[in-house]
């Protein structure tokens, strides 16, 4: 038996310093046009209350910004959506801070940095900002993080017959972790997935791909950011070209996807 499921994409959000939203990313991915966008240092993440926005670490801001864009495009209330936040590395800067502080003066660990260090911090801030009490999860799957998060979100949408927000993001490496973690630039993508949606921009038909006998994946893309594994899908969405894609959802597990419009 090869299981399959069909899911609609209702909204897309993107954040990177060069492409701070889906329209700018679509322009670049669609026709390869150089888009003159000055790098944006900090995502607006306007859904966060002002105080939280000032205090929130970058890992939270980029994920929340992409999530907010996708919900706006889908015309869905953030408070209504179960969500899956996926990140391979979490907040690298906070982990660098925690490990460095523990080595130097453990009693000086900041309580705020500690609770912001949890892998579900972006999801937690998102629920607080949007008043969302739905199922909230935060997952990680190394280089296969995007595909694994997509499977988790699509399966939830399919089984529960409800729209689900997927957010995949990773920040750039820093500190002593620079030569350990290869993520070279911050990138976040968000998709609102919905079964049986009349307003889907595109539909994905997903089934399990050929089992590869490849060794475990380490780090997926040229930027080293596992969230960027979504780029072939985003390029297809930008060009509105029906096509087939494959995305890794485990070291020996992949999803074949047919995209149609």
């Amino acid at each position: 038996m090869n299981p399959a499921l069909a899911i609609g994409i209702e909204g897309i959000g993107v954040w990177s310093p060069e492409f701070p939203d889906w329209p700018s990313a679509r322009a670049a991915l669609g026709d390869g046009a150089k888009v003159a966008v000055d790098p944006v240092a900090r995502p607006p993440a306007a859904i966060l209350p002002a105080g939280e926005r000032r205090r929130a670490p970058e890992s939270v801001l980029i994920a929340v910004e992409a999530a907010q864009q996708a919900c706006a495009m889908a015309r869905r209330d953030p408070g209504d959506l179960a969500h899956v936040f996926v990140s391979a590395y979490g907040d690298i800067a906070i982990n660098d801070y925690l490990c460095a502080t523990l080595a130097r003066a453990p009693n000086e660990v900041s309580p705020t940095k500690f609770h912001n260090s949890v892998h579900n911090a972006p999801a937690g801030y998102w629920t607080i900002a949007g008043g969302c009490m739905r199922a909230s999860t935060a997952v990680s799957a190394g280089a296969a993080s995007f595909g694994s998060g997509l499977l988790e979100a699509a399966v939830r949408a399919h089984v529960e017959s409800e729209p689900v927000l997927l957010v995949a993001s990773d920040v750039a490496t820093c500190g002593r972790l620079r030569e350990i973690i290869p993520s070279r630039r911050a990138f976040a993508v968000a998709l609102v997935l919905a079964p049986q949606s009349s307003r889907a921009l595109a539909r994905l038909h997903m089934h399990v791909g050929e089992v590869a006998s490849a060794p475990p994946l380490l780090h997926a893309s040229a930027s080293g950011n596992p969230a960027a594994a979504c780029l072939p899908l985003l390029a297809a969405l930008a060009r509105r070209e029906s096509c087939r894609l494959q995305v890794a959802a485990g070291p020996a597990y992949s999803l074949d996807m047919e995209i149609s419009f």
């Binding site: 299981p3 499921l5 408070g79 179960a82 391979a88 590395y89 979490g90 982990n95 925690l98 490990c99 523990l102 080595a103 453990p106 660990v109 309580p111 500690f114 609770h115 260090s117 949890v118 892998h119 579900n120 999801a123 937690g124 801030y125 629920t127 607080i128 949007g130 008043g131 969302c132 009490m133 199922a135 909230s136 999860t137 935060a138 997952v139 990680s140 799957a141 190394g142 993080s145 694994s148 499977l151 988790e152 399966v155 939830r156 399919h158 089984v159 529960e160 002593r176 972790l177 030569e179 350990i180 973690i181 399990v208 089992v211 475990p216 959802a249 485990g250 070291p251 020996a252 597990y253």
Partner: protein, 412 residues
């Protein structure tokens, strides 16, 4: 038996959506014991696994639930690149209660790509990363051995166990702080329901490290004495470590095995490190688990509470249980035996709930002397022999992340 039949009939009527899964194997290793029998004995004898903190690298004055012997149990040489305290504990647990053999048999039976692996952790192997920062080389870089370790990211746990078991299905690490290894059951149930796997190996592993000891200490949540869940005079939590695994298969495979009959997941939408003051998020998770299981509150025989012994958690959770359940429901926290094992708390306490069903035994609340006035008659200090047909397990985490699991006895 009539009562049990009635429960099953109710399940069949109301839970067409939630296909129950058989829990065909499970194991847990924690401070209170290695394996199910050892844990059951410690629970029955009310023997706590907590000890005064003796971790020389982290000399914080507190009590901890440390698993003995991890230091002397290196991974097999084939897995040397995965060396960490967390992976050692994962390997110990895999090789307890015959779990490795049961998992391998399932992989052979279904095919490696038809078995999913979903594990939970809060801090994964960050203890090893902390060690790398304490032992930088002369240039301020990680030592070569540390640079080559495959441990410095959250999914290291899932990746290690995936390699160690040779499982090729969907593979995910859930990291929602202290609800992580409860949510693995919900994700696995959906994957099986959607046909993306025929069986799932779920579990969770978290180990003591500086980040959690000093982090919880900075939040003023660590007790200087052994934790006393639900005691009026409690002073915070004791941190612990644990690893546990369960094998989930279609409910028809083994009708005598206990089953997962419902899961509830929710968010507080309130605060990053404090629970919702009225427990609204927790209540939502509990009600969702009951609804999916087709159960009413009065059908629940035992609840393993989150019960961390923090001031806020226990007050909010006690009030929630008092308003939702009849006096006949037996509820307790077992963290006085194990400590708060964070990302492994979900699987550890799911295993306690399964032991309660399998052994007809409900553990009380160790170290509690005089219960908080917020506690209703449901929360018990003493152990009891008790027929447990339906058991719940609560797990709540930072970020306001809640999960409740419902288990029921299999066909006798």
């Amino acid at each position: 038996m009539l009562y049990f039949r009635a429960v099953i009939d109710l399940l069949a009527r109301l839970s067409a959506e939630f296909a129950p899964l058989a829990v065909t194997a499970h194991t847990v290793t924690c401070a209170a014991g290695r394996g199910r029998a050892a844990l059951a004995r410690a629970l029955a004898e009310r023997k706590s696994g907590l000890r005064e903190n003796d971790l020389v690298e982290y000399p914080l004055p507190c009590w901890i639930g440390r698993v003995g012997g991890i230091e002397d149990s290196p991974l097999p040489s084939a897995w040397a690149a995965w060396e960490s305290r967390n992976h050692r504990l994962a390997w110990m647990a895999l090789n307890t209660d015959g779990f490795h053999d049961r998992a391998t048999a399932a992989i052979e039976r279904y095919g490696a790509s038809r078995v999913a692996l979903i594990l939970g952790t809060s801090t994964s192997s960050i203890g090893e990363t902390e060690y790398a920062y304490r032992t930088l080389d002369a240039d301020g870089r990680f030592m070569v051995a540390q640079r080559e370790r495959r441990v410095h990211e959250t999914h290291a746990l899932g990746a290690f166990v995936q390699q160690a078991l040779g499982v090729h299905g969907p593979c995910l690490t859930i990291a929602t702080a202290c609800s992580s290894s409860a949510k693995v059951f919900a994700s696995a149930q959906r994957l099986l329901h959607a046909g993306f796997a025929d069986a799932a190996i779920v579990g969770g592993v978290d180990t003591l490290c500086g980040s959690v000891l000093y982090g919880f200490n900075a939040l003023e949540l660590v007790s200087p004495e052994p934790c006393r869940p639900f005691d009026a005079d409690r002073h915070g939590l004791s941190l612990g470590e644990a690893a546990g695994f369960a094998l989930l298969e279609n409910g028809q495979v083994d009708k005598s095995a206990p089953r997962l009959v419902g899961c509830g997941e929710s968010a507080d939408a309130y605060h990053m490190s404090a629970p919702h003051p009225q427990g609204l998020g927790a209540e939502r998770a509990l009600r969702e688990a009951l609804t999916r299981a087709g159960l009413r509150a009065q059908d629940v025989d035992y609840i393993n509470l989150h019960g961390t012994a923090s001031r806020q958690n226990d007050e909010v959770e006690a009030a929630l249980i008092a308003r939702m359940f009849p006096a006949t429901t037996f509820a307790s926290s077992t963290k006085g035996w194990t400590g708060h094992t964070l990302g492994a708390a979900g699987i550890t306490e799911a295993c306690v709930a399964l032991l309660a069903i399998e052994r007809g035994f409900a553990p009380g609340t160790l170290n509690a002397r005089a219960l908080d006035p917020a506690c209703g008659p449901q929360i018990r200090i003493d152990n009891a022999q008790r027929d447990v047909r339906v058991a719940l397990s609560n797990s709540f985490g930072f970020g306001g992340n809640n999960c409740c699991l419902a288990f029921a006895a299999g066909d006798a």
